[in-house]
Symmetry: C2
Subunit: 457 residues, 2 copies
């Protein structure tokens, strides 16, 4: 029996323990955005630290930052000639609102059919536990031919405000040959894939101020600019009838898709029916001239994420509100930058906010889009690992979401970043009823085993 | 001494009591929209009923409706040959939110300078108490040459949902020669005026629904129509660059302003500086080609009164929301009707709501605009009364607000409706720090005395 076969056999024999590990970790409500969960954040980091200790990792440190601690650890016993992998991940989860839409308690993992429902089950405690189980299987069967380091933050879901400073301060401990970002996914349970591109993000909050106080809309309506009406008019002007963003210069640096790339994306088995089923949307929409796959991955977007103004209770109130607010974010694609888009937004507001309305534009987060190296030893090893488990070649995809850390890791550490994780698009990330598809969880664990043994730089 | 002079002298001697009456009535927090104030509603009606009893009114009844009771009363001792006036008013007040912006407790009347601050002080307990004091002054000095009836509802601030049915059921008790609507105002403390027109209203709530649940805006943004973005785009399309409403047919029945009427409105002493000062708005705006006075009184409007969708807490959340809502109201002018505007709104939505978004259009209230008779004995008597008190001819104005009951009274009772009240535009109606200007309160009381003695049909 090869060492891979032995590790795979071990993983299969210990699936029950793997499931128990996953349940234990998702039971800890490590919601990074809510200060009342501060103790839970530490418990989650400590749970992982304890597990790394049983795997004989060393220099395991839970290091404070201004908000939530970062976990560092390493296992260097493969020796100085073996490559070193730096695993990036996060132990925090999204809030659970709206709680009323959960079928079961978000922090009491509940199995229904092939899925385990819990906040964080897929994003990304399931990925972390899968990797830990893969390392355990290799260690208990005498394998693990690479050195490994862990960098796990507790602030990914709130935009990683302290990660860059932390990485700069601890750069020496992060030296590696390859970064493995396991905060990732595949196309579907039966469609293994490797994402090689991520969209960037810029997230604004636009606050409009009008009259000094709320006014009677009968007495003053018509003569006084209304911030809520103007807010809608401004946002209404940010896209044209074809669904294209009208901010000045928005498309100037968008890289043209090659024919080859579009053909490859067209092979991704997510037809319109798939998008409709995943979302419950009555119909698809978006930028004219592109498929749903393209619109959600390789084309930039503008979405209103939040709207608030005036009277929002039951019934009517004839108020002309003093202020209104919208959260507006844009997903960016290579080679757009947050700086360019910010400049376009400011120019648009300067040109279009009418007299009588003043505005503030806050920026809550921003990150560059990223394209990672496809023709590399790491991607070839990942491709072989997926084929070994699923029995077919993976598809190459670009993802719609943003993982700011990818650009950060590439830039700060000057290493390649491989994204290898096993979340599914229907896992309800950031939404009620998040879940982990258990057959994919077990397959993902096996794929990690294949990758860790098959990677040669 | 004429009977008018005696009554005026009485009123002046009893100003302290008038102020105490006003304080007593505004201390009762009769907020019609909040069910926890149900007992307060009854207390307010009973306070007025007790006062009418001391004035020897008869048939004083507090009659239940499905929500808040209506107060009826009459004093018919002027005899069958004297005209009968029906006074319309309301004893309910608006809610006090946002409470943090009040300088003093909204239900503990507080005098600062010439003003008494309290919710309802102007809208419209001050008007009611002024009229009651005028009647008292006339009765105590042997006058009051007209018969009087009172119709006071408790639901004006929530759109008078039960008034029409009540009036139909008690139509016999409402028979009169003239209706006196005291829920009204004048231009400014030193500018007596008579409003002869009111805008109508239609108030919608537009609810948009998209995907079945909130989605991750990275994974799905671009391919799935976003109800919050679409809501802004729909509202953004409801007015053009000139501030004109684009709903089909919106202006079809707007009566053209005569040159004469525009000249008369131009004499109203509320220049741009006045509107800026009243509202604290940094600049004026609105439909091109009209003055602020015209925009806020004789031209129709569209205002967003409320907006809600997606994530509205602090910071970012990358959510593509499942739904979004806007409260949108339009002020209407003769001869627009709510029916026409509703038809236009439905046609607009049918033509513009994109695939992937479904909508519901609720209607919270609707009323016709109204123009009351200017060339009438009632208006002439009111005009003389104002001149007697202020020493100058009143201006004739049209008001921006809506008093649905005016059209209802005209239609159901087939009588003329005179609007005669003394609220001021800077009284902060429906807003924090509502107040009554006390010199105007006392002058208004005297004007009521002049009117009640000077009116001959």
């Amino acid at each position: 029996m090869t060492s891979v076969d032995a590790a795979i056999a071990y993983a299969r024999e210990h699936q029950t323990q793997a499931l128990e590990d996953l349940k234990a970790l998702v039971r800890i409500p490590s919601i990074s955005t809510l200060s009342e969960h501060q103790a839970d954040m530490r418990r989650a980091a400590e749970w992982i630290a304890a597990r790394l200790k049983t795997l004989e990792f060393e220099r395991i440190d839970i290091i404070p930052t201004p908000k939530h601690p970062v976990l560092l650890a390493e296992w260097m016993k493969a020796g100085p000639k073996a490559p070193t992998l730096l695993v990036y991940g996060h132990y925090d989860v999204q809030p659970v609102d709206p709680i009323g839409l959960w079928t079961s308690d978000p922090f009491e993992p509940t199995q229904r059919g092939e899925n385990l429902y819990a906040r964080g089950a897929s994003d990304m405690k399931g990925q972390l536990v899968g990797l830990l189980r893969a390392i355990e299987a290799l260690r208990r069967t005498g394998g693990l031919p690479v050195n490994m380091k862990f960098l796990l933050e507790g602030e990914e879901e709130i935009g990683s405000p302290n990660l860059e400073a932390f990485m700069r301060a601890h750069q020496d401990r992060l030296a590696c040959d390859l970064c493995l970002n396991v905060d990732s996914g595949i196309l579907a349970a039966d469609s293994p894939s490797i994402g090689y591109g991520l969209r960037g993000l810029i997230y604004f909050e636009l606050r409009l101020l009008g009259p000094a106080t709320d006014l009677h809309s009968g007495t003053f309506g018509g003569a006084i600019p209304n911030p809520a009406t103007v807010l809608c008019e401004l946002i209404g002007g940010m896209r044209d009838k074809k669904g294209r963003v009208t901010l000045p210069g928005f498309y100037d640096h968008v890289r043209k898709l090659s024919k080859n790339e579009r053909e490859e994306l067209a092979r991704v088995p997510t037809p319109d029916a798939w998008w409709l089923k995943q979302t419950g949307s009555p119909a698809l929409g978006g930028e004219a001239g592109y498929t749903a796959n393209e619109r959600a991955s390789v084309r930039p977007t503008l979405d209103v994420n939040g709207l608030l103004g005036g009277f929002t209770g039951e019934g009517p109130k004839t108020v002309l509100p003093a202020k209104a607010m919208a959260k507006i974010s844009m997903r960016l694609v290579p080679d757009q930058t947050p700086e360019d888009v910010r400049r376009g937004m400011l120019a648009y507001l300067k040109a279009n906010v009418p007299a009588g309305i003043t505005y503030e534009l806050l920026e809550h987060s921003a990150c560059n889009p990223a394209i990672v190296e496809r023709e590399s030893a790491a991607v070839r090893a990942a491709s072989r690992a997926l084929k070994a488990v699923w029995g077919k070649d993976p598809l190459f995809t670009r993802q719609g979401g943003s993982v700011p850390v990818v650009a950060l890791l590439q830039d700060l550490l000057d290493v390649k970043v491989l994204m290898l994780g096993f979340g599914l698009a229907d896992d309800n990330l950031h939404a009620p009823n998040e879940k982990q598809h258990l057959p994919t969880f077990y397959r993902g664990t096996e794929a990690f085993i294949h990758f860790l043994t098959g990677y040669r730089p």
